[in-house]
Amino acid sequence: MIPQDLHLAYIDPGSGSMIIQVIIGTLLAAPFVLRRQIGRAYDALRRRKPASKSERDRLAS
C-alpha cells in the first residue's frame, strides 16, 4: 500500500526541503517533548487545585 514509485507525487518536494525538515524536526523533538510534559503537568495541577472564588461565583450564578 505504501507507494514506492513517486509518479503520484506531482509536487516537487525539493531535496533541500526534505533534508532540512528532518534536521529541524530532530532538533526540535527534545524541546517539544519537554514542553508537552510541562503542559501536561500544569494541566494536572490545575485540575487538582480547588476552584477559585471567582470561579465558584461564576458556577453559582
Partner: protein, 459 residues
C-alpha cells in the same frame, strides 16, 4: 451531457474536477484506485469531515465520469458558493487556511496517511470557515517518511504570511505572480533581518532557503529516502503551527477601514440607505449577491440577514481583514469577504491563463451591489461611467447602484484633488448611461442627502 474541466486540478494525476450540467464532480482515476479504496476504508475522510476540516462529498454513479475509460469512482462534493484564490484573501483567512492544513496533516499522520500536497488553493472559505476541498490529497505514508508537502506548505503559507506580517500586508499579492507559492529564498531575501531571531522563521524560511541553495550545488540523493522518527514529525508540525500562530497583522485605521465611521451620512440618511438597500434586495429576488466596495460589510450583512450568500469585495486589506474577522466570529457565515482592486481585478493565471480564472470570469452574481462606489471609480480612478456600467453588467443579472451627486461632500472631497475633472454627474446623465445596458426598475432617494439608490436588470 458534456463535461467541462474545472478549476486548476488538471495537474493532479489521481483525479480531477469537472462540471456536468449543474453538478460539480470529481473523478477518481483508475491509477489511484487502490490508494483511494485504502483511504476510503481507513475512515480518515469521515473523521476529517466530522471535524469540519474537509468538505463533505458523496459517491455518485460512475457513469457520470468525464473520462469513463480512466475512471474508478466519481465524487460529488458539497457545492461551494464561490471559488476564491489566496491572493484575494485577507491575512486572517490565509492564516486560518494554514492552520486547517496543518490540523488535517496531523490527523492524517495519526491515521498512517499524509497530505500529498499543501496547496493554499485546496482550501476555500465555506460557511464562514476555511475547509479543505480536495478529498484526494491524502495517501498512505511510510511511518518514518518526511512530509513531502513541507516545501509547498512553507511556500504557500509560511512565506506569504511572514512577509505580510513582518514586511507589508500587500506582499500577499506576490502570490499572484508566484502561483506555486513564494519561493523561500525570495522570502528570506525580503524579510527583515530580525526575523532570523525568530526560531520558527529562522528554521522554516532562512535555514530552509540555505538548505535549498546547498542542495542545488550538490549531487546527493533527493532526500525522499531519508528517515524521520515520528516524534520529529510531530515536533515539525508543532513548530509550523506555532510559527503560523505567532504571525499577526492588525490593520491600521486605513482610508477604508475607518470609512464606515467617517462617512458623510447623517443618522437619518444612514437609516434610509439601510432600509432602501434591504427593500431593493428583497425585490431583486434570489441569487448570490456580489457586494463591490464592501468595506467592513455593513450592507453585506443586510443581504446575509435576508438569507443570501454574499461575495464581498474591497480593495483595502484592512477593511477586508476586519470583515473577515467578523465573519470568523460567526456573525455572517454566508459572507465571503475578499480583496480586489476593481480597476485591476485578478487576471486569468497559470497554464494558458486558464488554471486560475479571472475575477470577471468567475462572476456568478444574481445581484451586484455597487454602493458609494461609482464616484470613486469615475472621479478618483478616471474610469468612464459607460465602462463602469459595462463591467457591472458583465458581473450579474441585477444591479443595485448608489448615485452620488457631484455636490455630495464625499464627491467634493474627491474633486478637490482633481483640477482636471469637471463636475458633470447628474441623475439624468447617470440614468441615461446605465440605460444602455440595463432596464431601470426602481429609483429611490436616500433621505437627508442628494444620493439615490437604483435597481436595474441587465438587458
Amino acid at each position: 451531457m458534456t463535461a467541462e474541466p474545472g478549476d486548476g486540478s488538471f495537474r493532479d494525476p489521481s483525479g480531477f474536477i469537472y462540471r456536468r450540467e449543474d453538478l460539480i464532480l470529481r473523478q477518481v482515476n483508475r491509477s489511484f484506485a487502490e490508494r483511494f479504496d485504502d483511504l476510503r476504508a481507513s475512515g480518515l475522510l469521515t473523521t476529517l469531515q466530522r471535524q469540519g476540516l474537509l468538505i463533505d462529498h458523496e459517491e455518485v454513479d460512475p457513469s457520470l465520469a468525464a473520462a469513463p475509460a480512466l475512471a474508478h469512482a466519481v465524487l460529488q462534493p458539497e457545492p461551494l458558493a464561490f471559488v476564491s484564490y489566496p491572493y484575494e484573501w485577507a491575512f486572517g483567512l490565509l492564516k486560518d487556511a494554514a492552520l486547517v492544513t496543518l490540523q488535517a496533516q496531523s490527523e492524517a499522520s495519526a491515521a498512517g496517511f499524509a497530505l500529498r500536497d499543501a496547496s493554499a488553493y485546496n482550501v476555500q472559505l465555506h460557511r464562514g470557515r476555511p475547509i479543505l476541498i480536495d478529498s484526494l490529497s491524502f495517501e498512505r505514508a511510510r511511518p518514518d517518511a518526511p512530509w513531502r508537502a513541507y516545501r509547498q506548505f512553507c511556500e504557500h503559507f509560511v512565506a506569504p504570511l511572514a512577509l505580510m506580517a513582518h514586511r507589508d500586508v500587500r506582499c500577499g499579492l506576490l502570490l499572484r505572480d508566484f502561483i506555486d507559492g513564494i519561493p523561500v529564498d525570495l522570502a528570506a531575501a525580503l524579510l527583515p533581518g530580525r526575523t532570523k531571531l525568530d526560531v520558527g522563521l529562522a528554521s522554516h524560511i532562512h535555514a530552509h532557503a540555505q538548505a535549498q541553495r546547498r542542495s542545488r550545488h550538490s549531487s546527493g540523493s533527493s532526500g525522499a529516502s531519508r528517515r524521520m522518527p515520528a516524534i520529529a514529525q510531530t515536533a515539525l508540525l508543532d513548530s509550523l503551527r506555532r510559527t503560523v500562530e505567532k504571525l499577526t497583522w492588525r490593520p491600521a485605521v486605513t482610508a477604508w477601514a475607518g470609512y464606515a465611521e467617517a462617512t458623510s451620512y447623517s443618522a437619518a440618511a444612514a437609516r434610509s440607505k439601510d432600509e432602501g438597500v434591504r427593500r431593493l434586495l428583497e425585490a431583486a429576488g434570489d441569487g448570490v449577491v456580489w457586494d463591490l466596495g464592501a468595506n467592513t460589510g455593513r450592507f453585506s450583512s443586510i443581504a446575509a440577514s435576508l438569507g443570501r450568500t454574499v461575495v464581498a469585495w474591497d480593495g483595502d486589506a484592512g477593511a477586508t481583514e476586519l470583515h473577515y474577522q467578523a465573519v470568523r466570529l460567526g456573525a455572517q457565515p454566508a459572507v465571503i469577504p475578499l480583496l480586489a482592486d476593481l480597476t485591476n481585478p485578478s487576471p486569468g493565471l497559470g497554464w494558458a491563463n486558464e488554471e486560475r480564472r479571472s475575477l470577471v470570469e468567475r462572476a456568478n452574481a444574481g445581484v451586484v451591489m455597487a454602493l458609494a462606489l461609482v464616484h470613486h471609480l469615475v472621479i478618483g480612478r478616471n474610469i468612464r461611467l459607460a465602462m463602469v456600467a459595462e463591467l457591472l453588467a458583465r458581473m450579474g443579472q441585477q444591479l443595485i447602484v448608489e448615485f452620488v451627486p457631484d455636490a455630495d461632500p464625499m464627491a467634493q472631497q474627491l474633486l478637490l484633488s482633481r483640477d482636471d475633472v469637471k463636475p458633470s454627474l447628474t441623475i439624468d446623465g447617470f440614468r441615461q448611461v446605465f440605460e444602455a445596458r440595463f432596464e431601470i426598475l426602481d429609483d429611490v432617494p436616500i433621505e437627508d442627502s442628494g444620493r439615490r439608490l437604483l435597481r436595474m436588470r441587465r438587458r
